[in-house]
């Protein structure tokens, strides 16, 4: 009934006040590039989820084609070239001239071996001479492989960034809210972690922690929390003495309630941006770690472990694996970074 009363009143109804999130969403929708990037990232997430659910990229480990089967378009070109060449020299098919028995020292053995082989029925494995996007050394479909890699990379990025933000936010909130001794201790802890380059810390952790997907996520999050810590700490110092916190204090709210129910929602937009920044960074880190052999193990595939196979392939002229990884990875990372930029602009409360 209240709405009716409002409408009947003489004063114009005030515009409905929008939350920061609604405003941010509207600004993001107006930002055409940012919105397009959102769609691209969403597409990758759907792909990763589909792969995770077993709908796509399931057969990445099946050897369905010949070794280094070329992409179909290359194969067809080659086919045409061969056909054209053979059309020129018509009918002069060279006949294989086998050696005569008296000239061949192992004639008897060869004949026996042939007869012996005929006893066994070999299951005929049909291997594709070409695949739409090519195959790797073991004849595995590169499209399936790169989709599987997408899901690995995205889950490493997602869970790593999530864990990292949670660690950073919890420590930053404690340092900023309690101050004094807690702050001193946590700042010392922070300075210890930042005194070492990330890559060094990552390798040191990887050296002792063994290999595998879980380890990579843990190691990445343990090395990447300081940025979030710094940000959250500063915001908590700023917000802890505001009126709304004092009000919560007056009605007897506990420290954890003030920290996580009252203050934290005010910086959740910063955490979202931080999360998406971290995710891009961790995806890139995982690629380097896996390339160096300290990332995912052999039962998994990631963009980094795919890239690790590339240098040898290139020397033999097989470039398709490189092309697939670069295409997938750069599209996702570019879209993600641009989305992060747009997100930062859209969620900035100072922008009207």
């Amino acid at each position: 009934m209240t709405t009716l009363q409002h409408a009947a009143g003489a004063a114009p109804a005030p515009a409905p006040s929008r939350s920061l999130w609604q405003l941010g969403w509207q600004r993001l929708k107006r930002d055409r590039i940012g919105f397009a990037c959102l769609w691209i990232v969403a597409g990758f997430i759907v792909l990763a989820l589909a792969s995770w659910a077993g709908l796509a990229g399931r057969g990445w480990n099946d050897e369905i084609a010949v070794s280094y089967a070329p992409p179909t378009f290359l194969y067809q070109q080659e086919h045409k070239a061969v056909a054209a060449a053979s059309a020129v020299q018509t009918g002069s098919e060279p006949k294989l001239q086998g050696l005569l028995p008296q000239e061949d020292p192992i004639w008897a053995e060869t004949q026996a071996a042939y007869k012996n082989r005929a006893k066994y029925v070999m299951p005929e494995v049909k291997k594709e001479p070409s695949l739409t996007f090519g195959a790797d050394i073991r004849g595995r479909d590169l499209l399936d492989k790169v989709i599987k890699g997408t899901s690995t990379s995205l889950s490493v990025g997602f869970f790593g960034a999530l864990l990292s933000v949670v660690i950073g936010a919890a420590l930053g909130a404690s340092a900023g809210f309690f101050g004094r001794k807690v702050d001193d201790f946590l700042m010392w802890f922070y300075s210890v972690f930042t005194a070492m380059p990330d890559m060094l810390l990552l390798l040191a952790f990887a050296a002792v922690a063994g290999r595998g997907l879980g380890t990579v996520i843990l190691v990445l999050s343990l090395t990447s929390w300081p940025g979030t810590f710094r940000l959250v700490r500063a915001e908590f110092i700023k917000l802890r003495s505001r009126e709304f916190v004092q009000a919560a204090d007056a009605i007897g709210a506990s420290s954890s309630r003030k920290m996580f129910i009252h203050i934290l929602p005010n910086i959740s937009h910063l955490l979202l941006v931080q999360f998406s920044l971290l995710m891009v960074g961790l995806i890139k880190y995982e690629v380097i770690l896996s390339f160096l052999g300290f990332g995912v193990d052999v039962r998994q595939v990631s963009w980094g472990s795919m890239l690790a196979e590339v240098p040898e392939e290139l020397l033999q002229g097989y470039w398709w694996q490189l092309a697939m990884v670069v295409a997938f990875m750069s599209v996702l990372v570019t879209a993600f970074s641009m989305l992060t930029d747009s997100l930062r602009d859209a969620l900035d409360p100072k922008v009207k």
Binding site: P197, A207, L315, L322, M329, T334
Partner: protein, 313 residues
């Protein structure tokens, strides 16, 4: 200034202790029993006890930590588990190539990224600016690995413009002229995009200040405004960026060192991690952390030199 310097040095001690504690916990507690790594399968109780005594593992944890502190203070980390050679001597040989590579890379990057950033910032909002920013974003999202893999294959192997890899231990000239150009070129390609973006944002910010308008109103030429006035003020973030990135650069060029067979710290670290060579990893970690702290302090001292308004507290 001197009081500040001494105080900062004093403050480094707890951080350094923390780093040592972290490394100690990591390798002694998480890392598992090193006797297994060292001797593998042919392990008898006698050999095990012998190794434990040699490594000091029979002592209590605080005693072991003190031993580690002593190692750090004397910079004597014992022998490498993989090569049985003195860790400190090995690292002393590795610092040179890393410094040459990282130093020249930094210099080149500065000489190219800064002018580009200033030029782009000057035309901010224009199509050129947006195009360059866009290209930088895209260039940054291609993994540095890809630049190195493709660059090494195409430029060195396929076109034979550079040697594929190598390093001359005896001749610095050969290194600079023959072996370094390609790693430097590729390193520059990797580093350029993020640097241009980073520097651009600071120059843009400086351009909005009043003193720029004043300088223009005085009738100074644009290059003078840009390079003498604006750049000087944008120099603080630049110096921070450089000094902060110096120790990191050493590891950042790790991939370059590995691909081009340059015997530097990064390459050594990768080998050590591969072989679980804990003494070497510990030594490199401590060295780089100490270097990072020293460079941080240098950065703060440099601020004062660049900008007299900065108060050192």
């Amino acid at each position: 200034m001197i009081a500040y310097f001494i105080r900062r040095l004093w403050q480094m001690i707890p951080t350094m202790l923390g780093v040592m504690l972290l490394v100690f916990v990591l390798f002694n507690w998480v890392g598992g029993d090193p006797t297994f790594i060292l001797e593998g399968k042919r392990l008898t109780p006698e050999i095990m006890a012998n190794i434990r005594v040699q490594l000091g593992l029979d002592k209590s944890l605080p005693e072991q930590f003190l031993l580690f502190v002593k190692q750090v203070l004397t910079y004597d980390f014992g022998n490498s588990w993989a090569t049985q050679q003195s860790v400190s001597a090995t690292l002393a040989n590795r610092v040179g190539p890393s410094v040459i590579l990282a130093g020249s890379l930094l210099l080149l990057e500065l000489l190219t990224a800064l002018p580009i950033a200033v030029a782009v910032a000057y035309f901010r909002g224009s199509l050129t600016d947006r195009l360059v920013t866009m290209i930088c974003t895209v260039a940054m999202s291609v993994s540095s690995l890809v630049y190195i893999i493709v660059g090494q294959y195409q430029l060195a192997f396929a076109w034979d413009l550079f040697p594929v890899m190598g390093w001359d231990d005896n001749s610095a000239v050969a290194n600079l002229l023959v072996y370094l150009p390609l790693p430097l070129l590729l390193g520059l390609l990797v580093a350029l995009a993020p640097s241009v973006r980073f520097y651009r944002s600071f120059v843009v910010e400086e351009l909005n200040h009043d003193y720029v308008r004043t300088a223009r109103a005085k009738g100074l030429s644009e290059p003078k405004v840009l390079f003498k006035h604006v750049l000087r003020n944008a120099l603080i973030p630049v110096v921070t960026n450089i000094t902060m990135s110096l120790p990191f650069l050493m590891l950042g060029s790790m991939l370059l060192e590995r691909f081009f067979g340059i015997p530097g710290m990064g390459n050594e670290l990768l080998n050590a991690v591969d072989k679980s060579d804990f003494p070497v990893i510990k030594a490199i970690t401590i060295t780089i952390a100490a270097a990072a702290m020293v460079f941080n302090l240098l950065a703060d001292l440099l601020y004062k030199q660049i900008d007299p308004r900065v108060q050192l507290k």
